[in-house]
């Protein structure tokens, strides 16, 4: 059974149908990809799964339990964590405190593990930004801020990690490190779902890929299957991302 599953999700903004009967399933221990042209509805789908966006129709399940009606923070407490496409860090806090907030909160529903301070430090180590722990997060370049967001989600000990364009703003070396980290995390049993425009990153990393186009999930499969799918190629034709190699 899939760890996180969404079925029949429909979201309308006035006249615009951002998601149209879309579904996805995310397995533990795998990296699942979601790709699609700009405006396809990927971020909206993330918002639906985390509870930030109300739906017109559709259900979301975690571990087979219906969580559609749960509020954002209750879903988080059950193990759904995410990062944001447009960075949402806590600008008044230092890098360490950004992560500490999450680590302290997590103790509310899961008292295991080291004390929050140690845990927060460990998360910073894990994403490789321990040396900037005391800096103000508002002064960081985009790449580092993304890593802060990632460290912050790790501090909640998530079961599912939703990453919205994690590699944008990172340089080549940092992107490589990110890919390695995500592989590590899935080996620990985490489920990762990521939205990405960087095709080589997605193709190299994901076990399965879902393709969203104008709110509809038009294809789903292994990277090889998706790459050769004609409907995927036509979805990308004319979009500014070029063809899927």
């Amino acid at each position: 059974m899939a760890l996180l599953e969404a079925t029949g999700v429909t979201v309308r903004f006035g006249g615009l149908t951002a998601l149209d009967d879309a579904g996805i399933s995310v397995e533990a221990g795998q990296v699942t990809g979601m790709i699609g042209p700009n405006g396809a509805g990927k971020t909206t789908f993330f918002n639906v799964m985390t509870g930030l966006q109300d739906t017109t129709a559709g259900r979301v399940f975690l571990d087979g339990r219906d969580i559609t009606r749960l509020s954002v923070h209750r879903r988080a407490r059950r193990g759904i964590a995410r990062t944001f496409q447009r960075i949402e860090v806590f600008g008044q806090l230092s890098v360490l405190d950004n992560v500490l907030v999450a680590a302290e909160m997590r103790r509310r529903w899961d008292r295991s593990g080291p004390p929050p301070h140690e845990e927060a430090r460990a998360c910073l180590e894990r994403v490789g930004i321990a040396e900037i722990a005391d800096l103000s997060v508002a002064a960081l370049p985009t790449g580092s801020a993304r890593l802060v967001e990632l460290a912050r989600t790790l501090a909640t000990r998530p079961r599912v990690l939703l990453l919205d364009e994690p590699s944008s703003g990172l340089n080549g070396r940092e992107t490589q490190a990110m890919a390695d980290l995500l592989r590590d995390l899935t080996e620990d049993g985490l489920a990762v779902l990521l939205v990405e425009h960087d095709m080589s990153f997605v193709m190299g990393l994901c076990h399965r890929i879902n393709v969203l186009s104008f709110g509809e999930m038009i294809a789903s499969g292994t990277p090889t299957e998706v790459r050769s799918d004609p409907s995927v190629q036509s979805a990308y034709l004319g979009s500014d991302h070029g063809a899927v190699q």
Partner: protein
């Protein structure tokens, strides 16, 4: 327009409430065509005036995005100008009206837009709120300065008091007839302007998309000037029309804005037709209460409280605010995040205690002489500062705007009176704080659902509601009975509310409060508050419950304010409802924000300024300073458009490098100098050791990231 189930529920509840209230307070006065008719005439007249005022609010808000808390105060000011021309200088009415409504008011609006409002674009909401509330106090202060003393002013209605015509046996005065006609005419004109004219369509588009508007060829600068001119004129019309009905009283006319808020809130601050509907419901509702209902003593203000109640109901029926995902990255000046250590706060507190002890002991004779009744002034200052402290965690850290700190303080004072009023036992202070906390949590109820502007409005409604309906109850404050609050018994001392011992006690309390708050800021609660301030969406996705977090911070804030209120009660010895009004609370909020709402030190700054204004006014005695205690905070708040950080930040930045133990502040200063030099040298930073990060930045900048393999040898070689 579609109504949600919550809307229907709100409407049903309101109607049910209205029926129950009417049944309970029915006066038994006869209901006939004549009585109902005259109720409707007066009600519709009032509603017309509210509608005009509220439509000014809506026009400015929809076109410029700034919600003008000063709408009522502007109307008040222009009404005074009209009255001066018409009755003091005996100008003919048409000329006086034409000059005020068509020339002076629009001009004033344009000047305001140029000097102040334009700079507010894109600034944080808290700043926008404070600046327009500052403007409100500024206009009040200005009017009180220009037209002082002669309180019993009389604005004659148009065409005299009697006159008029009969309609179904009801006398309609010409003034009321004119008022209603003016409102109808303005409604039609506004509709035509906004929907039929090019400039009007452009005005409606501005807020949605500034760049789109400039594509259509309309100049946003001109449009925002026009909106303010129109808003100011509409305020003037409303002010001139209402003055003969309510009397030319600065506070009364200023508070028309609360009625206008309520009407505009019915239209969700956007729809003019709904705003007119809301205004009519209000006007007729109020007049109905005056005509047919009798309220027992404590509720005699019920008719005036109606807008407040409506505002509260509407705001609660609004759909739950969406958690906005909008991106928070912004450049900050400080690179190293320094949270004030407890030792610093404690040192500062000690220094303050030493200063106050020596000053109140007469060791600084000059200050004592200059401030007149020095010690009592000091007591006022410290109590104000303590009440201001309550807003530091709430507004400064958690970002929740609250214009009702004085309502909480008043509640605390009442609680102290009840539990320890006769004995003056110090534990009563703690009880007062504890009992006020739930009231704060109640205020968090709207805060949980609302954000920003609506929360600010709800807090104003809350403060006004407390002022009109709670403190007036004889079971709450029995002004007639002469209940007195005893002097404070603390650890064997008896501290008189105006004496030196009390001042020192307050200073110690304040210092302890600052240390406590800093400790709170460094705790997980403080971090959580700042997190929800910076991004509610991100905070919620980390498992933070916004409800719980807000309830806690509102509770703590209310407890601090309640504690401060109890201390105030001890100073005053007797309580009366006029001590805790909405308007008196506003300077407290403004002066704290001017100091820098996120810093406990700003509370001291605010307290000092509060008494400084009074002292300056008294010592100099110049007549143009006669309303300094409102004019001063108002103008200081308006001046925040120039310095948005708050005064204590700059003071701290200048002062802290001088302290021997603040190596980090000196370092920061040096960094600041270095980074200002960076612009001259260029972005390469060649004057510093060249680290791997610099290389990466450079690579990214040049777009050659993937061409160069990351070589460990590029690491920290100390310069190229």
């Amino acid at each position: 327009m579609k109504l949600s189930p919550a809307n229907y529920a709100a409407i049903a509840l309101t109607v049910a409430g209205a029926i129950v209230m009417s049944a309970l307070n029915w006066s038994g006065r006869p209901v006939s065509v004549a009585t109902v008719g005259s109720m409707l005439v007066v009600g519709v007249t009032l509603g017309s005036i509210y509608a005009v005022s509220a439509s000014g609010l809506v026009v400015v808000y929809t076109t410029t995005g700034v919600f003008n808390f000063a709408q009522g105060a502007m109307g008040m000011y222009w009404a005074f100008v009209y009255w001066e021309l018409r009755f003091n200088r005996n100008w003919p009415a048409p000329i006086a009206i034409g000059l005020v409504v068509l020339v002076m008011a629009p001009l004033g609006g344009v000047v305001l837009d140029r000097l102040v409002m334009r700079r507010l674009r894109g600034t944080p909401l808290v700043l926008q709120l404070m600046v327009t509330v500052g403007l409100m106090l500024g206009f009040m202060g200005l009017a009180a300065t220009q037209w002082k003393g002669d309180r019993g002013r009389n604005a004659q209605p148009f065409f005299g008091r009697s006159g008029g015509f009969e309609l179904l046996g009801v006398n309609v005065t010409w003034h009321r007839f004119t008022t209603i006609c003016v409102a109808v005419l303005l409604a039609v004109l506004l509709r035509l302007l906004l929907h039929r004219s090019r400039i009007g369509v452009a005005m409606r588009a501005v807020v949605d998309s500034r760049s789109l508007t400039s594509l259509t060829g309309a100049n946003p600068e001109i449009i925002s000037g026009l909106a303010w001119a129109l808003g100011s004129s509409l305020a003037a019309v409303a002010g001139i029309l209402i003055a003969p009905e309510s009397g030319l009283v600065v506070e009364l006319l200023t508070l028309v804005v609360v009625d206008a808020f309520a009407a505009a809130a019915v239209g969700r601050l956007q729809s003019l037709p709904l705003t007119f509907l809301g205004a009519m419901v209000l006007g007729i509702g109020q007049q109905f209460m005056r005509s047919f209902l009798d309220f027992p003593g404590g509720f005699s203000n019920a008719d005036r409280a109606l807008p407040t109640i409506l505002l509260f109901v509407v705001v609660l029926a609004l759909p739950q605010a969406k958690l906005h995902v909008r991106g928070t990255a912004s450049a900050a000046s400080a690179r190293i995040r320094r949270v004030t250590p407890l030792s610093d706060a404690a040192l500062g507190g000690l220094a303050l205690i030493v200063v106050v002890v020596s000053w109140s002991g007469g060791l600084v004779p000059f200050v004592d002489e200059w401030t007149g009744t020095g010690v009592n002034r000091g007591v006022t200052m410290m109590i104000t500062a303590i009440i201001m402290l309550s807003l530091v965690p709430l507004t400064g850290w958690a970002g929740q705007v609250n214009f009702a700190p004085l309502a909480f303080a008043g509640f605390g004072a009442v609680m102290f009176l009840k539990v320890a009023g006769d004995s003056g036992q110090a534990w009563g202070l703690l009880m007062a704080a504890l009992l006020t906390a739930p009231v704060g949590a109640l205020m968090a109820l709207p805060a949980v659902r609302l954000q920003g502007l609506y929360l600010a409005l709800a807090s104003m409604a809350f403060a006004r509601g407390f002022e009109l309906l709670f403190f007036t109850q004889s079971s709450v404050i029995d002004s007639g009975a002469g209940e007195r609050i005893a002097s404070l018994h603390f650890a064997g001392w008896q501290l008189d509310g105006r004496g030196r011992g009390y001042l020192i006690f307050l200073t110690v309390v304040f210092a302890a409060g600052v240390v406590g708050l800093i400790a709170l800021k460094r705790s997980r609660y403080g971090r959580r508050w700042m997190a929800i301030h910076d991004s509610e969406a991100a905070a919620a996705t980390l498992g933070i419950s916004l409800v719980e977090t807000k309830v806690i911070v509102f509770g703590i804030s209310a407890a601090i304010a309640g504690f401060g209120g109890a201390l105030f009660g001890i100073q005053q010895a007797t309580l009366n409802p006029s001590q805790f009004t909405l308007l008196l609370g506003l300077p407290i909020v403004l002066l704290l924000v001017v100091g820098g709402v996120a810093y406990p030190a700003a509370a001291l700054f605010g307290g000092v300024n509060t008494i400084l204004f009074i002292v300056i006014k008294e010592r100099l005695g110049w007549s143009w300073l006669s309303a300094l205690e409102i004019l001063g905070p108002g103008l200081m708040a308006v001046a925040m458009v120039v310095n948005t950080r708050g005064a204590v930040t700059d003071m701290g930045r200048a002062f802290s490098p001088l302290l021997p133990w603040r190596q980090d502040a000196r370092e920061q200063l040096r960094l600041g100098h270095a980074s200002s030099r960076e612009d001259e040298i260029g972005e390469l930073g060649l004057d510093r050791p060249f680290t791997r990060d610099h290389v990466n930045d450079l690579d990214k900048h040049l777009g050659i990231v993937d061409l160069i393999p990351a070589t460990p040898s590029a690491e920290s070689r100390g310069g190229l």
